[in-house]
Amino acid sequence: MTDPHVQIDRLVKTYAGASKPSVDNISVSLPRGEMLALLGPSGCGKTTVLRMIAGLIAPTSGAILINGRDISAVPVYKRNMGMVFQAYALFPHMSIAENISFGLEMRGIPKAETEVRVRRALDLVKLSGLGERRVGQLSGGQQQRAAIARSLVIEPELLLLDEPLSNLDAKLRDEMRDEIRDIQERTGVTTIFVTHDQDEALSMADRLAVLSQGRLEQIGTPREIFDRPQTDFVASFIGAGNIVVGNVVEPGVADIQGLGRLQFVGGGRAGIPIRLMVRPHRFVLTNVAGNGVNHFSGIVEHIVYRGEIVTLTARSGAAVLKADLPTHAGKLPEKGSRVTLAVAPEDVTVIGDDSQ
């Protein structure tokens, strides 16, 4: 294992007058070249973490280490960070090229080199030839590209993106998502971005750090976060889920109160309580009538046809199950009809540490 490029060590931020910390003891480390998403609902402290890394907010305690060196005492303007603000923060009194060369000018880079690097940065974000434009003459997507070029041209230690896609319309968002990922891979810059959008985080990041109320809930690859959530919060914040509680009756089988028996992959000692989750889209319809292990019969209470899938809720015993089922041209379940939903044991997610 090589040394991590960035290490965030027990970072805490308590704002003056606040009763509890906005960022509470967060530790994360990133290898060089990784793209990490800080994901969480608004007010979870993710932007505060980002701003502390940039140096715009001073941490209450904890350290931020880059290449093993604590940068807490380094002033913002000497940190060499590339930051893209949510509203881009392009300088309105300068042309796009002047915006991009600003950081180079601050570093005293000679004119000739600046010109070459600005042109290369414009090429990188596909804005070639638009350097002389004013900020107001660019579309939202182009402004974001310019903001990315401006932060990358200085060859920053880290690229920090604050809600990078939130100001774009839906179509542009998909395009920029791939674009940002592509630019990041080509430049190899270690990147941290903040988002409240799970799709954005899952599709762009190498790893996700899920935050809630200032605390780090879980950190892991998109698949780990999605399929092995450690906490109820992660399970319910990332994607929809049917979360159930029960007791292990034998290793790999749990008895769920009011529902029935659920087989899952993993161990567990008999008698211990366990929390399990089934993602709605992992249910399938089965023809086997009645209840059994991993299949549950219920009455459809609510159904929404959404083209590719139907989303239904079915009451089975005391439980209400949510299922997303693929549509087909044949007969689909209707409201009030009886259905049996089945799930494969490997599609049952154990919430929490599954090493027990």
Binding site: P75, R79, A89, H93, F102, S151
Partner: protein, 290 residues
């Protein structure tokens, strides 16, 4: 059916729409345009009586104004007073306006109101206030003498120094107001962006704050300049007859020596001075914008 609805604007006959302009236009013509035209006419008369009857045309008043170095001196004094008052008022108001725009304090509204509150007092009263401070036996001079720092009074009032000080203070609220409305492009995030890109405080100020606040600064400077060169009360009162600016001279010629043509010609000079400054200014502002 449709009596309750006004027809769309483009269906209203043009003549009817123009009617809307009539009251304002009428007031402007009667109270501004006609007097200016009359003033223009009067500046070509030879005496107050002839100016009233409008019976003669002469360049006498202009000859007097343009050939007499005294009036050139007066015009020059006025320009210097205007420029220095504008410069000092803007320099002093800039930090205040910057603070008021950027502060996160919940007292922001109260502080802004306080900054412009002096406008509620007449400039005559405020000028007298300055006379109390700056006069030969005023607060400053008596303090200095009591401390034996000076033997006799230093001339603070009755001089262009006093007029400048008083005008700066009187006109600062206007400068602050003009700047507050002109600082719309300032934005804390732009400063953060510049800092992250490697700009220290000085460079953030010179490269971001200053250029973005320039339109507001220039508007404020123009406003103060125009108000200063047309000021009469303050230079007259605090100048004690020793400060000669166009405002005081126009008043003097019109009411003391009753040389109306000369007063009118001086007014025209003031008007030309005004308008040329405004034209140059707007050119400069436009150049900044592009």
């Amino acid at each position: 059916m449709s009596e309750g609805f006004a027809p769309p604007v483009d269906k209203v006959p043009r003549g009817l729409l123009l009617l809307l302009l009539v009251p304002g236009l009428f007031a402007l013509v009667v109270t501004f345009l006609l007097p200016i035209l009359w003033l223009f006419r009067a500046s070509f008369a030879t005496s107050a009586v002839k100016a009233l009857s409008g019976s003669d045309w002469s360049l006498e008043a202009y000859r007097e104004v343009l050939l007499d170095t005294f009036y050139w001196q007066v015009a020059w004094n006025t320009l210097i007073l205007g420029v220095s008052v504008a410069a000092i008022a803007v320099i002093l108001s800039f930090p205040i306006a910057l603070f008021l725009v950027r502060t996160q304090s919940r007292w922001q509204g109260v502080l802004t109101a306080l900054a412009v509150a002096p406008l509620l007092t007449s400039s005559v009263v405020r000028t007298y206030g300055w006379m109390v401070l700056l006069g030969d036996r005023g607060v400053i001079n008596s303090t200095l003498q009591a401390m034996s720092l000076t033997s006799g009074p230093i001339r603070l009032a009755n001089s262009s120094f006093g007029a400048t000080v008083a005008l700066v203070e009187i006109l600062m609220p206007y400068a602050i107001l003009a700047m507050l409305s002109g600082f719309g492009r300032l934005n804390a995030q732009l400063e953060e962006a510049a800092t992250v890109l490697g700009a220290n405080r000085f460079r953030v100020f010179s490269r971001i704050i200053l250029p973005l606040s320039l339109p507001g600064v220039l508007t404020a400077a123009l406003l103060v300049f125009v108000l200063a060169i047309s000021a009469y009360v303050t230079p007259r009162l605090i100048g004690g007859g020793r400060v000669f600016v166009l405002g005081t001279e126009v008043f003097n010629e019109a009411t003391v020596t009753l040389n109306w043509p000369l007063a009118a010609a001086l007014s025209m000079l003031l008007l030309v001075l005004f308008s040329s400054v405004i034209v140059i200014y707007q050119r400069a502002l436009r150049a900044l914008d592009t």
